[in-house]
């Protein structure tokens, strides 16, 4: 049987989550491997959540936020970007492929983009195989 990765997606309420919704209502297909978690802002995604997701067995973690300049809380997404850059460096040092963590800006209208990046990400993780962390 082919490997079906488990992916946790933290989606900001105002943009990425709305974008995912949009994809749904427009019947744009995207892989079912994703467990979406709605957060008020991507800035709410503490690095601890990401590590926790990996520890609990996620093969990939996706964070979706508003485009730069569009964050409802002004700078939440800038902070997120810094955290993600840091987290990727940490993952690398830990021996986990940093490609398992992905940040994308998705606006409420970009249902198609959402579906595309998720599909891309899922394929990439399929290629990488199961996460060495988690069980």
């Amino acid at each position: 049987m082919s490997f079906e990765p488990k992916i946790v997606a933290f989606l900001c309420n105002w943009c990425a989550y709305a974008g995912a919704d949009m994809a749904g209502t427009s019947r744009i297909k995207y892989p079912a491997n994703v467990v979406p978690i709605r957060v008020m802002c991507s800035g709410r995604v503490d690095p601890e959540f990401v590590l926790d997701a990996f520890e609990k067995g996620a093969d990939g973690v996706f964070i979706g936020g508003c485009h730069p300049g569009d964050c409802h809380y002004v700078s939440g997404n800038y902070r997120t970007r810094k955290r993600v850059i840091m987290m990727k460096k940490l993952l690398q040092e830990m021996g986990i492929n940093p490609a398992r963590l992905r940040l994308e800006w998705v606006s409420a209208t970009e249902g198609k983009k959402f579906a595309t990046v998720i599909e891309e990400f899922v394929n990439e993780i399929k290629e990488l195989g199961p996460s060495p962390e988690g069980e």
Binding site: E48, R79, L90, N97
Partner: protein, 312 residues
């Protein structure tokens, strides 16, 4: 008289020494405590420990981490015999610096010690075996574990080793049967440099503390990484008083699970808000050794299941 036990696992012995840090008060303590098992203090043996009734020890302190089968065995035994089992110090509770070994496999460790080592002459590539002739070596676990990864733990005394005031408070609480104690605030709160910590810090370059003159202000304000914001108060800022940034040995306040994550989060908010992405990358790339910086005392828990490396 309260019955007390103390055991060290894989650690440096500093935790045992720290118990002597109360100096003369130790003599008084001997009047109210009965030590029923303390390998370094008394002649009680494993055998004696095994014979004790379950839950007959009031408080058992375990210091050091779990690196060998023997460590694991004693941890389980103490859990059975003690009413309260306490993780004493950073090794027992977080894995401490020796937890950094969990980023390497046992094979890597052997390689660095026996095979590729400058002063070692080893033409036949010999490495130690668990059984050689009529001698045996106890098994080293593939990865280091913390006490709570093996048995249930009732309380934690933080620190590497626990600073004397923290220890005294913890001992008093535990002897009254209380398992919560200590300050639930960040170190910055009691830092000797606290008054120089500005409300807003905008880091534009990270300095390492050996490469910059210290001007006596809050280290973060000087753009040097100090673990204060992600570290639990209690030591009074001992290192900072000696002009060295906090490296985080006290662990976190109890509501925070992950010290490194909490520090990364803090750092992200201390960088200029609307920075150009390229600049951001450059700046973050200059933070060397993230694991050793943010998880110096808690890396063991980063890879608790210790699986193979990801190909990247």
């Amino acid at each position: 008289m309260a019955k007390i036990a103390m055991y060290w696992g894989a650690g440096c012995g500093g935790c045992d020494v720290s118990l002597l840090g109360i100096h003369e008060a130790l003599l008084d303590l001997l009047d109210v405590l009965e030590i029923v098992f303390w390998p370094c203090a008394t002649d009680f043996k494993y055998e004696d420990l095994e014979k004790m009734k379950d839950k007959s020890i009031d408080v058992a302190f375990y210091n050091g981490a779990i690196r060998t089968e023997e460590n694991e065995h004693i941890a389980k035994l103490l859990r059975k015999k003690a009413k309260l089992l306490v993780a004493y110090g950073s090794c027992a509770s977080k894995g401490c610096v020796i937890g950094l070994a969990n980023l390497s496999t046992k094979e890597d460790i052997f390689d660095a010690a026996y095979l590729h080592n400058e002063s070692t002459k080893n033409p036949d590539g010999i490495v130690p075996q668990e059984k050689a002739g009529d001698l045996e070596l106890p098994a080293i676990l593939p990865y280091l574990k913390t006490l709570d990864q093996v048995v249930e733990v009732d309380a934690v005394i933080p620190g590497c080793p626990p600073p004397t005031p923290v220890l005294v408070e913890a001992l008093n609480a535990l002897l009254e049967g209380k398992t919560t104690f200590g300050k639930e605030v960040a170190l910055c709160d009691e830092c000797p440099r606290k008054d120089t910590k500005p409300d807003k810090i905008e880091i534009t370059k990270f300095y390492r503390w050996h490469e910059k003159e210290d001007n006596g202000d809050c280290f973060l304000a000087q753009n040097m990484i100090c673990m204060g914001p992600a570290t639990r108060a209690g030591c009074g800022g001992e290192c900072i008083a000696a002009n060295i940034p906090c490296t985080g040995c006290m662990g976190t306040v109890s509501r925070v699970k992950d010290q490194g994550a909490s520090m990364m989060s803090a750092i992200a908010s201390l960088m200029e808000e609307e920075m150009d992405e390229e600049k951001e990358r450059e700046l973050i790339a200059s933070i060397h050794d993230m694991v050793g910086t943010f998880y110096k005392y808690s890396a063991a828990r980063l890879l608790p299941k210790g699986r193979l490396k990801d190909e990247s």
